[in-house]
């Protein structure tokens, strides 16, 4: 399944001073996978949606903050 975010589990030492963050996330936004943008990609149905997204094409849109359940502290 294609994901715009990946996760990994850093090593946790029994002697770590702070409560571990067990899973960390990083972004892998769509432009990493597209190469040359193919012609004729579907566009947002309205100009307003495109303006709000910052792109005409939903396939290039990268949401942030990470849309994770619970999110991160600063979300």
């Amino acid at each position: 399944m294609f994901t715009q975010y990946k996760s990994w589990r850093p090593y946790i030492s029994p002697f770590d001073p702070c409560k571990p963050i067990e899973v960390k996330y990083y972004a892998t936004p769509p432009q990493l996978y597209m190469g040359f943008q193919p012609p004729g990609l579907p566009q947002f149905p309205t100009a307003r949606e495109a303006l709000m997204a910052g792109t005409l094409w939903p396939q290039l849109f990268s949401p942030y903050p990470f849309p994770l359940k619970g999110g991160r502290k600063h979300d």
């Binding site: 994901t3 990946k6 990994w8 996330y25 990083y26 990493l32």
Partner: protein
């Protein structure tokens, strides 16, 4: 921890007495795209990068230090027996005033090394793209130094170092592919 082998990664031979080449080579010693910047950049980024590519950054950082040692050897050989007059003619008069014949982490124009040359953004993709760019810039710098040098023995070592930049760039590009890969991703939503 590191083990040290008291030898160079690739032999360094300098066959012509041309201290001006030392001035140019200093760019790869303490310049923005030099070996010191590369080694420190990767050595530092590896702490916060996903564990799949930590080993790569450690290995490449270590190799960059061995390149730094080769560059230092070249600069030392080109300057150790130069008289102050020869250094002045080579454009190294200001270097002599400040450092005698000691090596110093600065670029070809004498600007001292600064941590602002390197970045650790924390975003794995951003950091690896910076690393790829750094390798390409170092490759270009080697090309321009080779263009300015007519010492065939020195150029032989420089061609080796240029090729290593190409290999490192390829490895960093592979690291990006590893981090892009969706395999072993559990659905986390």
């Amino acid at each position: 921890m590191w083990y040290y082998e008291k030898k160079l990664q690739y032999p360094v031979k300098v066959s012509t007495c041309n201290p001006m080449l030392a001035k140019f080579l200093i760019e790869q010693y303490g310049g923005a795209d030099g070996e010191l910047a590369a080694a420190l950049r990767y050595m530092n980024q590896r702490y916060t990068i996903p564990d799949k590519v930590v080993g790569l950054l450690t290995d490449i950082a270590t190799e960059e230090f061995s390149h730094l040692e080769m560059i230092a050897t070249m600069i030392y050989k080109l300057t150790k027996d130069a008289t102050p007059e020869m250094l002045k003619e080579a454009g190294l008069g200001d270097h002599y005033v400040n450092h005698d014949r000691a090596l110093f982490y600065q670029n070809a124009s004498g600007v001292p090394f600064t941590a602002t040359y390197i970045q650790a953004k924390g975003d794995p993709i951003a950091d690896l793209y910076e690393d790829i760019a750094a390798e390409e810039k170092a490759r270009a710098t080697y090309q321009w130094i080779i263009d300015l040098s007519d010492d065939t023995d020195l150029n032989d070592s420089l061609k080796f170092l240029r090729e290593r930049e190409i290999v490192h760039s390829q490895r960093f590009r592979e690291a990006v592919e590893i981090l892009k890969d969706d395999r072993d991703q559990k659905k986390v939503f």
